[in-house]
Each structure stands twice: as structure tokens, then as C-alpha cells.
Symmetry: C2
Subunit: 266 residues, 2 copies
């Protein structure tokens, strides 16, 4: 096995770049390919069949790029399609939902777990299923927080509006005394300071960080870690509007991500 | 000319149903076809080429349904593609941007106009161009308000969060003393009560209402008004997730919209 092969990460858009960032942190010598299906973004409002068809095309694109591992950074694709993709392909795969759920279970002491995410992620019931599969006795409260993504994208993460919004959304988790809260959306970690103020005694689970840790662990177990300790290459592909991706992606990462390549996958 | 032919309305999703609603109000006897390209929703983050290609396909679908008139209820498509579509097709067409701009100019007394919309609509500069084309001496301030759509969709239009958010966004229009504000997004009319509190002396332009009025006027001028005063048919087509469209569409209109048909247009 050639360990020099890249890790492939796909998302429906630019949000998964927070997962990319964490993987860079935990695995600084790995070559990375990020694929954003911006033409079909967001997946959240699409049917299961469509999401699975698109996810399949994304995996095939990454396989043509000779990846050794596939990370599904999109909550919706991870929720709706990971189990099917694993049946079709032999390449090892991981999704943000399973890793987030696993970390929550390792963290909770009272068995009361909260999950927040976009409307699509919550409606899919993916975290609920993943958590209950691991422990059917858990008490779980899931809540969609559709205002959180635009709050972050506005740069209002530390504003009064964010505080008031977070208070409205999160009070239910105080009521049920959840000791663990899964941030089931790639944007939400930016709101940690505000969330911590409202849920003082609740442990927050960041799916992006947990995914990066899990990828590292699995690569080590499978002896797939790149041996060369030279500067790796990171390449970005999108299916539409590369300039927009470059702008938002660079701002998320805090450095210029360079050329973003436009590709067709259908 | 058979005036019994339907009016075709297209949008990238369900938002344009507010335009549908206004057209129903102003033209209660017209047969209507609503086409929502939910598979590619939203258009806002897509490139001009992609939006134009998708819009062309949408018009062709409506022409196959024998429409006598095309209404572009999508701000992005209206902004980026209307002028090109008018070159390609002989069917009369209207877009929400031009009608909103025209109404604003007829309303303003001090020549200071504000425009609010989604990030995509504002970044496209469409309202700015449409307004300046009609009167180059206007003073215009455009502002994206990305939190407004999720606020409306959360049912928080009359909440404290909405008030605080609207205050943050709209204070700039008080500062420049705009006497007219264009609501350049199909969701924004739901926030009128909150906006009016902050901008007491500003006239609000609702593009959906203005579009419906303009459609009526043009149909009258072209003698295209349906003569039969019997109950018209309204049909809904989407390119993905018809059940979701049915649910949100029915809630927007306040009645069950019946069957939503799934079609392929590519």
C-alpha cells in the first residue's frame, strides 16, 4: 500500500472545511483532497435518493484521484448515505455523525445528551439513531438551530443577537439537565463561547475534532499513515463557483487556499 | 391567442410561492403553473453561467406546458438571466427585480432608496443596476440580511431576536434617511411589522405584490387575460423532494396545495 496517497474529504459545500482544518492539525503530513459539491449545495433539503446518488458520484471522483481514505464531512450525506457507500466500496470511510455520536457517549455521565444541527440533519434523525444504536437507554433531545449558520457567517458569533438566539434555542437542554451537547454542524464550534455561557456545566462535542481524531486512529491501525515527513499537498475541487469557495474557504482557514479547481462529476 | 393558457412562474425553490400568492390575489381566474427547481436550490451561490443554464431549462419546461406568460419569482435568476432569456424567447416575461425597482422609483420623494435581500441578490448588484438604469441620480444603499430568511422560517418574525436583528441591519437606512426600502427577498414581507417599528417613516416595497400588479397590467395591455370566470387550475412541479415542497408551500399559503409533481428537466 502506498501511504503517500491522499485522504479525500467531501462535503456539499464549504462548511466541511472545518473538518479539513482539524485533519490538517491532527495529521499535518497527509496529502489532502477536498471536494465540495457546490453545484448541488445544500444537500439538506434533498431527498435520500438524490443525496445518495450525489454522494456516490463524489466518492467515485475521489477514488479516481486515488485516495486511501474517504471522510464524509457533510452531516446530511454522512447521515443518509454512509452505510450504503460502505456496502459499495472497499476504501475505508468515516462520517462526522458516527464519530460525534461515539464521542458523546464516551463523555456523558448522566446519559442525557443534547444534539443541535441544521434542520436537515436533525430531521434526518441520524444522530438519534447513531446514539441509540450505541446505547438504547440514553435520553436524547435533538433540536434544529437554523439561525446559527447565518449568525456565524455574518461574523455575529459574539453578539447580543447570538446570545439571545442561543438562549432561546438552548434553554430546553438546561431543563432536561443534558450533561453533553453534540455540535452537529460544521459551523457551530464558532459559537462555543456563547453556548458555554448558557450551558455552563455541559460538555460540548465538536464533530470536526472528533472526526479528525478518529481518522488518525484508524490510519494508524491500518498502517496507512504517510511516512514522508515533507510538506504535503492540499487540493480543492468544486462543481461550481470556485472563486466564491476560495474566498469563504480562505477566510475560514485564515490563509489563502490557492487555486480551487472546477470539475464536472455527473 | 387562447387566453385560457396558464401563467408560468418559476423559482429555485419554495420561496417564490409568495409571488404565486399575490398573483392569485390580483388575477384570481388565471390558470397557474408553479415550477420550483428544488434540486438546484438555492441559485444564490451558483455562477452566472449555471444560473442562466438552469433558468433556460426552466423556461423550456414552462413552454412545453404551453404558458402564455413567464414570471421569474427568483431574485437571482431574475437578476442574472432575465435579459438573456428575453433575447432567446418570444413569450412575454417579467422578473421580480425590475418590478421592485420600478415601484421604488415611483415611491421615493428624496431619491434615497434602501435595498435589502439575501447575500446572493445583493452581491449580484441587480437592484442597484436596475434602479440606476431608471434614474442615475438616485442614492442607493444595498444590504444583505442573511438572518431574515431563517428568522421567518423559524416563525420568529415577531420575536425579540427579530427586533434586535432588524435593528442591527436597518440602522444604516435611518442614518442615510432612505424614504423607501425595497424588500428584495420573497420571505421579507413577513417581517414588515418589525421593520416598520424601526423605520417609521420609510415606505416598504414588496416585490411580490409589485410583480403581481405588473403581470396584471401587462396581461390587460396584451389582451391575454383569461375570459372564463370559472375556477382555475394551479399545478405545482418540482425537481426534487415534492413532499417537503408540499409541506412548506401549504404552510406559506395557509391551505393544502394538493399534489406536487416530481419532474426531470435536464
Amino acid at each position: 500500500m502506498n501511504n503517500n496517497r491522499p485522504i479525500g474529504i467531501f462535503d456539499s459545500g464549504v462548511g466541511g472545511i472545518t473538518v479539513f482544518k482539524e485533519i490538517r492539525k491532527y495529521l499535518p503530513y497527509e496529502n489532502l483532497i477536498y471536494f465540495g459539491d457546490t453545484k448541488h449545495n445544500p444537500y439538506g433539503s434533498k431527498s435520500k435518493d438524490t443525496v445518495t446518488r450525489l454522494s456516490t458520484e463524489n466518492v467515485q471522483f475521489l477514488l479516481r484521484k486515488n485516495v486511501k481514505y474517504v471522510v464524509i464531512a457533510c452531516n446530511t450525506a454522512s447521515a443518509l448515505s454512509l452505510h450504503l457507500l460502505r456496502k459499495f466500496y472497499t476504501v475505508p470511510m468515516i462520517g462526522v455523525v458516527d464519530t460525534g455520536a461515539k464521542a458523546a457517549i464516551e463523555t456523558t455521565k448522566n446519559g442525557k445528551i443534547g444534539v443541535i444541527g441544521t434542520r436537515a440533519t436533525i430531521d434526518s434523525g441520524a444522530y438519534l439513531r447513531a446514539l441509540l444504536k450505541l446505547d438504547p437507554k440514553l435520553k436524547i433531545k435533538s433540536l434544529a438551530c437554523p439561525l446559527f449558520v447565518p449568525l456565524v457567517e455574518e461574523g455575529w458569533s459574539n453578539s447580543k443577537v447570538a446570545e439571545l438566539t442561543a438562549f432561546e434555542y438552548l434553554k430546553v437542554f438546561r431543563k432536561i439537565k443534558a450533561d453533553t451537547l453534540v455540535l452537529g454542524c460544521t459551523h457551530y464550534p464558532f459559537l462555543k463561547p456563547v453556548i458555554v455561557k448558557i450551558l455552563k456545566n455541559t460538555r460540548l462535542i465538536d464533530s470536526a475534532t472528533e472526526t479528525a481524531k478518529a481518522v488518525k486512529k484508524e490510519l494508524e491501525q491500518k498502517s496507512l499513515i504517510r511516512e514522508k515527513k515533507t510538506r504535503p499537498t492540499c487540493t480543492f475541487y468544486v462543481t461550481d463557483a470556485p472563486e466564491r469557495f476560495k474566498k469563504i474557504g480562505s477566510s475560514f482557514l485564515g490563509y489563502d487556499i490557492g487555486q480551487v479547481k472546477l470539475v464536472e462529476v455527473e
